[in-house]
């Protein structure tokens, strides 16, 4: 894209920010060491480093250095980590798309209803009595996807329900503190918290501004989007998903307790969590900011009955004329992989299969290949990509 489109500017959306895992306590250190040896042999993680020397760790995470740091630490570091601004990528991709024929981006157009025609095409009813007819529909509306999928009435959505959870971060914009931290540091939750719940202290670069974020702290909401309605959760409850919701709530009781506990946290409690990473953190430098809302999927499964699903899921209609993306994490980082799947399953016509596949292969050299088994290709792709993206080290 960088070669083809001058509008595409990676420097605006990707920066090199090392990724670090930090633990304390003998058990956790032993676990991290074991994980390091397991990952080191995988070509994808060949550059991972391990240290249990506080001097080295202090160089990696200067904020950790304090008179109060008496615990034994261990850390791993992947120098080639990055910070990606997916909002900026979206803007850049759309600005390129807007220059193309047969492409329309219509903002401030809310979809009110979607109905299937007998010929398998779809009619989407929009605000102001407008309509769009389409052969294929892809629903990718974040938290609102479930409600739109319910409007299509396709059989495959039966039994699916959603539960929204919002998040909050402690944010620091003090340039002196921000300048001391240049990594994403992931921790491991202490005993009593969910294992590997991974609190993390991140350097984030948003619109060129460097800030530190610590969290996340989960909290309750009944909205499916920040711009959504407080009735979203209630209106998503249908006769066909009521049983799923009730059983999942009973099964996942600990999750509700965890959410309540997180909600009850005071600024003081949150600061004390942060001090695991930054012992000298001052309360006045940090304030709480809202993160986005995720809608967690609940669905009926043949094996385990109604279940809370984690991860992202694409629901396809039987005729493959509609797909909807549900779920939360992982999201943006797997966008290319999941969209290729939608293209392969729904949009490529059999007669054009080979020509489309060869075009995708040109765009994504690792397409259809397992990079773990092709270390040479991996090395080549990585060095080319790092050069193009300006993140070589």
């Amino acid at each position: 894209l960088t070669k083809k489109y001058p509008l595409f500017s990676p420097a605006k959306f990707i920066k090199r920010v090392p990724h670090i895992s930090l633990v304390n306590g003998d058990k956790n250190i032993a676990y991290l060491k074991k994980r390091y040896f397991a990952l080191k042999n995988n070509p994808l993680f060949k550059t991972i480093e391990f240290s249990s020397n506080f001097k080295t760790i202090g160089k990696w995470i200067p904020l950790l250095k304090s008179k109060k740091s008496v615990k034994k630490y261990a850390a791993t570091k992947v120098e080639s980590g990055t910070d990606v601004d997916f909002g900026e990528i979206t803007f850049q991709l759309l600005s390129i798309l807007k220059t193309k024929k047969n492409f329309h981006l219509r903002t401030e157009h809310k979809v009110l209803d979607i109905n299937e025609h007998e010929d398998g095409s779809w009619l989407a009813k929009l605000t102001d009595d407008k309509e769009i007819k389409s052969k294929f529909v892809f629903i990718a509306s974040g938290g609102n996807s479930l409600k739109l999928l319910q409007k299509t009435k396709v059989y495959e959505q039966i039994g699916y329900a959603g539960f929204p959870i919002s998040g909050q971060w402690l944010v620091c914009k003090d340039p002196l503190v921000v300048a001391m931290h240049s990594a994403k540091v992931y921790g491991k939750a202490d005993i009593g918290s969910p294992p590997m719940s991974m609190p993390h202290l991140d350097l984030r670069i948003i619109n060129g501004e460097k800030i530190l974020m610590f969290g996340p702290f989960a909290s309750f909401t009944s909205k499916f989007l920040i711009s959504g309605s407080f009735f979203d959760l209630i209106s998503s409850v249908k006769f066909h998903n009521l049983k799923t919701l009730c059983i999942v709530f009973l099964k996942e009781w600990p999750l509700l307790i965890y959410l309540i506990k997180q909600n009850l946290k005071t600024h003081k409690n949150r600061m004390s969590d942060l001090r695991q990473f930054y012992p000298d953190a001052k309360s006045k430098d940090w304030h709480l900011e809202d993160a986005g809302i995720r809608v967690q999927i609940m669905k009926k499964t043949k094996k385990d009955g109604p279940k809370l699903e984690f991860g992202t899921e694409i629901i396809y209609s039987k005729q493959n004329n509609l797909a909807a993306l549900l779920g939360a994490s992982p999201g943006a980082s797997i966008s290319v992989q999941s969209m290729i799947h939608v293209v392969e399953k729904c949009i490529i016509k059999k007669e054009r299969l080979s020509s489309w596949k060869s075009k995708i292969k040109k765009m994504i050299p690792s397409y259809d290949l397992d990079l773990e088994k092709n270390p040479k290709l991996l090395k080549k792709i990585r060095s080319t990509n790092q050069k193009i993206l300006g993140i070589n080290y």
């Binding site: 047969n102 329309h104 809310k110 996340p216």
Partner: protein, 101 residues
């Protein structure tokens, strides 16, 4: 006969609902492999990427916090506590009912 008031904005091959990273990625792939394909994106807000794809509100690992609650080890320990509590709740309810009777 009543005429439909609705305005047909377009007839397209692919309609993407949501102007976030997923929709933009799908549209880009499609237009690169077949420039003749008609692709429309509709977005409810005034700009794309204002919700889930917005950098300042992306939760990152938030959901992983929740996801990890069900890792087997933790789940088992919680499950035991849950069963104990449930038994206690039922027990209290039972006593209460008896009290009422």
């Amino acid at each position: 006969m009543l005429k439909s008031k609705n305005i047909l904005l377009s007839e397209t091959d692919v309609l993407i609902i949501g102007g976030g990273i997923m929709g933009a990625t799908l549209a880009s792939i499609l237009k690169e492999v077949d420039s003749n394909l008609r692709v429309d994106i509709v977005e409810a807000l005034s700009k794309p990427a204002l919700e889930s794809s917005h950098p300042s509100i992306m939760q990152g690992q938030a959901m992983q916090v929740i996801a990890n609650l069900i890792t087997p080890h933790f789940y088992q320990t919680i499950e035991l506590t849950f069963k104990k509590r449930l038994r206690l709740m039922l027990d209290l309810k039972f006593r209460f009912n008896i009290g009422v009777i």
